[in-house]
Symmetry: C2
Subunit: 673 residues, 2 copies
Amino acid sequence: MPIASTAYLFPAAGLLGIVFTVYLVRITLSKDAGTPEIARFSAVIQKGAMTFLRREYRIMAVVAVFFAILLLVVLDVYIMFTFIVGVVTSVLAGYVGTNIATRANGRTAFAARKGAGHALDVAFSGGAVLGMTVVSLGILGISTVYLTFSLLRVVPNPLTVMTGYSMGASFAAIFARIGGGIFTKAADIGADMVGKVEVGMPEDDPRNPAVIADLVGDNVGDVAGMGADTYQSYVDTTIAALILGGSATTVLGARLGQKGIYFPLCVLVIGLLGCVVGVVAVKVLAQSEKVGPETVLRLGMVISAVVALLGTLLLSRLYLHDLRAFYATASGLVAGVAIGLITEHFTSGRPVDVIAASCESGAATTIIAGLSVGMRSAALPMLILGLSMIFSHRAWGIYGISLSGVGLLSILGITLSMDAYGPIADNAGGIAEMTRQHPRIRRITDRLDAAGNTTAAIAKAFAVSATAAAALSLLTAYSEVAMVKSLDIRDPRVMAGMLLGGALPALFSSMTLSAVGHAAELMVTEVRRQFKEIAGLLEGRAAPDYQRCIDIAARSALGQLVLPCLVAVASPFAIVFTLGREALAGFIAGNIVSGIFLAIFMANAGGAWDNAKKRIEAGAHGGKGSLAHLASVVGDTVGDPLKDTAGPTLNILVELVAAVSLAFVPLFLRLIP
Amino acid sequence: MPIASTAYLFPAAGLLGIVFTVYLVRITLSKDAGTPEIARFSAVIQKGAMTFLRREYRIMAVVAVFFAILLLVVLDVYIMFTFIVGVVTSVLAGYVGTNIATRANGRTAFAARKGAGHALDVAFSGGAVLGMTVVSLGILGISTVYLTFSLLRVVPNPLTVMTGYSMGASFAAIFARIGGGIFTKAADIGADMVGKVEVGMPEDDPRNPAVIADLVGDNVGDVAGMGADTYQSYVDTTIAALILGGSATTVLGARLGQKGIYFPLCVLVIGLLGCVVGVVAVKVLAQSEKVGPETVLRLGMVISAVVALLGTLLLSRLYLHDLRAFYATASGLVAGVAIGLITEHFTSGRPVDVIAASCESGAATTIIAGLSVGMRSAALPMLILGLSMIFSHRAWGIYGISLSGVGLLSILGITLSMDAYGPIADNAGGIAEMTRQHPRIRRITDRLDAAGNTTAAIAKAFAVSATAAAALSLLTAYSEVAMVKSLDIRDPRVMAGMLLGGALPALFSSMTLSAVGHAAELMVTEVRRQFKEIAGLLEGRAAPDYQRCIDIAARSALGQLVLPCLVAVASPFAIVFTLGREALAGFIAGNIVSGIFLAIFMANAGGAWDNAKKRIEAGAHGGKGSLAHLASVVGDTVGDPLKDTAGPTLNILVELVAAVSLAFVPLFLRLIP
């Protein structure tokens, strides 16, 4: 197929996005780095985060090289190439985003002296670097690889090699998420269990040896990990849409040809534009200081969504001359927003009060209430996902389902910015506390941090919805390419695959939870040791050994990183070579059903426990120090690894399994008759 | 089809089973009821249990009458009739079983004076009444209804009306399980949280006001509830096998005709025989006192399984002249035993040590460790279920899958006996404690109780496996009868149904957990009140008001019974009338995948927490009164409602949804084009 000259606009749009990102970086770095003390703490956090990321990437690189060689041997050099591009772009996005986020934290703390609006502006600009890097690199990478292979004509269909890209992004993501997830929770639990519970220090006390590790963890987990996570959703969904758009003859009636491939990319470009508008709007609104931070952030998202919707509507009319494309795309976006609102209800509405009340009768009832809320909270989102799927399929077949995913992810730039802003505000609060800033500063950063918790819950819900759309698109693409005739659930191979696929997320969560537990134990021991052995530490006369805690978190995270990743990557092969291609399709489907459920359950249970604790700390049910408070701390500690390690990792697991399956179809077709 | 004269042997076999049960009843009642004090406590427990069951059945009857009228209006009078038979036989089995179990408890405590063997004999005979009643009534009921409709010829195919029977059994089961489950855990938590934790009394202390309610709860939950649960699995699986056997032309190549219908019934009769042999063997071995109770019980199961396997082998050769039937049947039985052994590992092997060790760092890590073990423990059983499904399908198509379920359930008589024996031994221990028997007596009952915990874990695993087989058979039967053409998971209706089906068990568990929490709160308040208001209670000078605690447990259980039951019954209608017949099939499938996972997860996490606590109480990690012990009590309290209420209820939910869907197919076909 010849390339339309307009196609070069896609990489150009990606490049423009990068130019905008560079502008955001310059703005962020142009802010005052603050007092020498603030700058020093910020630098320690940055050094810790970047050192950890480099070590993590090094381990990942070793496994990736082996995997690339495997790709070269059993598939071909082109898939190996796109795989490497997928890994490298993912790493790049996470690295740049974390680098700037860890420079924005101290600047945010210092900007708070000038007022909440200024602090919000700095923190959000820092977070937006990650958001815009991810989407710009996504558009640039995908369109460039596609155009290159179209021009080179080394393969009959350039779309077939795109599966390597998708797999590369998922591959990088699982390392980043698990590594960051273990690090952040080990440090968090260590800081809380010993520093806060046993010794009775306040949050972010500089005498707490694990406090810097905790702040580093926020960055490597919630910035680098989240960036890689959403990057893979973005890439997976888009590539699945391209594949289905390019081959969706059967469902659409008429072959769309290039338009089927260009349309999803156009939607992403429009979304990018919407996000730029949204980011600028947030910055302007923040500086005007007329409304609170929650409202500013939410308005930014609404503006981006409206721009994206209107743009998609115009595009459908003028480019495709077919409004079905709009309906399909919009349904995903609407579903994502609806799921976000439901999440907000369960993690900060009445259910949180129920959990807080149950804290009065002790830790056991707290846990039961949280489990109950988490389970209930998963039902409605799954209903909405199902309805959006049916709707987008009615609008435009399986291509419509993939378009709904593209629509959902088109405004990823702004939702991810809102999410990455959270750890920056959190870090700023920590730095303010450690450098003993005026309480007014701390109040501002606390305010920003609270707003970040709400937006983070929405962004997490978005990520899960995106995973569902991406994985379903990949599943459909897999069964198209793998020429699986029957995926009937009455087929016992399909059903057996579903049962196994349903068990994998549980097995996987078990591994990540154990890893967190193990790492946290080491951290608890170390913090206890420092309190005992470093004379004068408790009285504030001696400084703790922050670096050792960072090292322990890093080492235990990195040591337990490879096994779960290997299990995830190897599982599709184990299924397909023992039970066949049909079973693998069932495996992907079962994995989606139970992975999505568990991801929502864990995210919301964890969020609800967290906020129940905050309510009690704010004075409800006896307030700080009461028995209810102790129970709520147990709930929060249980919820933390669920919502920040095990849960988010499932997003990636679900997509990785589907992406690997799709990429290796040529091998399966050759080996399994 | 004319009826072979040999067909009358089926009801005859069921009747013989009942004769054997009557013999067991007489043996049990012939034992000495013990000292007047023992007899008095036993009578109080019995009165409490029977009163609760009658009230529960009354509520159920009201709903059942409405449902029967609905059946009459939208389907026909015959389905209404079989529905009623299903409900009544289920109630009968549970009622008889509980009646005898509550008479065997005091007798067991008294028999312990003569030695462990005698006590084991009495307790097991009591439990075997439930086991044998369930299977005998099952065979008798199913074969009688089938033969009656075959003779009357009021419907073209007598198998079509059998779906009402299946639905009736599931309907009764969900009431019995939820009601019993809420009662037992409310009483248990009330007795533990106040009596043991707050006041510091030992287990089963007669001064604890909730202690009798707790013992009553064991009977209404683990005897009546478990009986109804397994009765429905037995009935559902058999009826699905009959339907598939009668219409399995396509898969089997040649129509089996009556043999396809008679074969599963023959397997059940052989299994009944095997169970009689097993029960007698246990009684003989118990009295000889040569081996420990665990070994005696396990030997009984092995003997029954071997008899059933050999009998099925002979039957396949001589009656069907086709060994494929044997392979299919045996695969289910082998899978059930394997899953039982895995369960034993996770609930009493090394994983329990890991949880116990994590108790040292507090309640939060205890919970995380238990969640992790529970999740991991579900993976292997789901793999085995998948493999057994593939194997039995290779052996003999979809009919083979249903035969594997029949094979698994053929030895239900003995596994259920082993399970019902547990609460009797537990009750005996409680009565011994309350009547202040010699410590030797308590040691014997503790020993029997511990053996019961192990066998209960195996029996629970059996029940879950049976559910999987039954639900899959029902799903297949549904799609046969409902003439659903495509159940392709790429069909968005199927996939949306799967997502929703995957969410239902979570929603449902959330409801049952909340119900337990609410009921437990009322109980805690009441127990605290009695300790405060009844003068001299703590010093043992005044008696507590046991009856009030029983009333509160009963009232709160009954008050929260109807809503979850209605949700379960109504859900298939909601799906089918909004999303269609294909979506309902997907709904059933998603429900199976996530229901089975959650059921295993909850059962094993709960069991593991329970045993971790027992290990610490036996002296590990600081023993009773240590901080680790406190943490382990939290774990146990969280695990209790998971393993005894929410988890087991899921078995029934999964089957009920499938059974209702199957029974209402004629309506769906009429209303939905």
